[in-house]
């Protein structure tokens, strides 16, 4: 698992790669906190290269979304693969966090 941060016109894009499960969810949490820092205006998590996420990983996404929400920082996800998409649908988290089909859509929505 690896998180890479990129900036696109004031929007912070965090690209997540690999698998996230209970064995590395703490590392995932730490890497996301480092990537987001304190000054992001809006955040997009690009999950295109995320192969698998377990409930421990979902908890981290939820925690990050809540923390950013308290700071009025918008967060959305994009480019989910089939299996990851279905994890978000079954858990109902697609109702809590905005999910876009691709990065272009996510950036356009975040820029508004």
């Amino acid at each position: 698992m690896n998180v890479q941060a990129e900036h696109h016109d004031g929007v912070l894009v965090a690209k997540v790669e690999g698998r996230v499960d209970s064995s590395n969810s703490q590392d995932f949490e730490r890497q996301l906190h480092e990537a987001f820092g304190d000054d992001a205006g809006a955040v997009v998590m690009d999950l295109g290269q995320l192969a698998y996420i377990s409930s421990a990983g979902l908890r981290v996404v939820l925690l990050v979304a809540k923390t950013l929400g308290q700071r009025n920082v918008g967060i959305s996800l994009c480019s989910l693969s089939g299996p990851v998409q279905s994890v978000f649908e079954i858990s109902g988290f697609n109702r809590i966090i905005q999910i876009h089909e691709n990065r272009t859509d996510a950036l356009a929505a975040a820029g508004k």
């Binding site: 209970s22 698998y52 409930s55 421990a56 908890r59 925690l63 858990s91 109902g92 988290f93 109702r95």
Partner: protein, 398 residues
Amino acid sequence: MSDRSSARAARAANPDYKILVVDDEPDLERLIRQRMRRHIRSGRYGFEFAGNGIEALEKLTEVDDIDIVLSDINMPKMDGLTLLQQIPEVNSDIRSVIVSAYGDMENIRTAMNRGAFDFVTKPIDFADLQVTIDRTLSHLDEWRAALASRDKLVALQNELDVATKIQQSILPATFPRVDGCEIFGCMEAARNVGGDFFDVIRLDRGCLGLAVADVSDKGVPAALFMMSSRTLLKGAAVGVGEPALVLGEVNDLLNETNDAAMFVTVFYGVYDPSTRVLTFANGGHNPPLVVHADGSSEELELTGGIALGAVPHFEYGQAKVQLQPGDLVVFFTDGVTEAINLANEEFGLETLQALFEDGKAGSAREAAEMILQAVREFAGEAPQFDDLTCMTLRVADE
């Protein structure tokens, strides 16, 4: 005294390491204090002195944080080789360095066999002595770090044992006997302790509340969250009735204090054996599988729910399914379908469905045990990351 010299004096009074020098040669103390003065002043080493083995043992009892004993071999009253045998009884954390005459291989061998860490020869070469002391100290540091991490591992293991006990203690061990249906449930815990649970709750008018749940994350916090989820669910199931309202109430209560953003996915259904109707609400859990007598199967619909604990004040939906005689409902957690083998392939829903294709599901117990057995065989040597939980409801044949 200036600030600088008083700070230096404070450092020297409280050195990083304490070395006890044992020798009957009175000049040695003066020599060491002189040759090691820079290290003494900087506070790296502090020295204590004793004239023979007896005095050394007294000193070790008096000053309990000595790190190294540097001892001569030939001394009156108690020699260095005898002292070596006595030191571990006073403090096993001390490392000894022996000072012997050049070429005295017999005594050096005896000393090493009695646990000396190293030796230096007389006349003492102070540069060599310092290298020896530093090597001994760095060994000591590593040894102490290893001890500390072992203690941490033991503490962690204890913590995991607590979590395992909590988890095991809340699972039903017996299942109600009800006319017209049969129920069984089992769980195989992952080594790193997850948060699965299942429950069977007796309700009014012969109905049964059936729950299967999976808490996000592992360890003691997850186990405690699981414990309160299960208690709240039981209470709401008895008090509220309708599955959607039960999930709504538990969700609100879990959201009251949940800074860690923990959540639990819950499938909760109420089965009425007299009508064979299962009314259910799904809080973000993977949908159960309904297997028919002919071996065909399908998942129960999702009811638009969210995992409990994630957002407050959510209105859960519910649905009903009319079961037929001979139907089997398999409630499970994603540990079953997401189990992986060494080739990193998932067990998957299709494999689960294929188990029943021949239409011989057997009893509730046989079906549940067959599923866990199939997952175990599939996973082979691959480590089990998640709990495997399977609960089955078998509708009696007509």
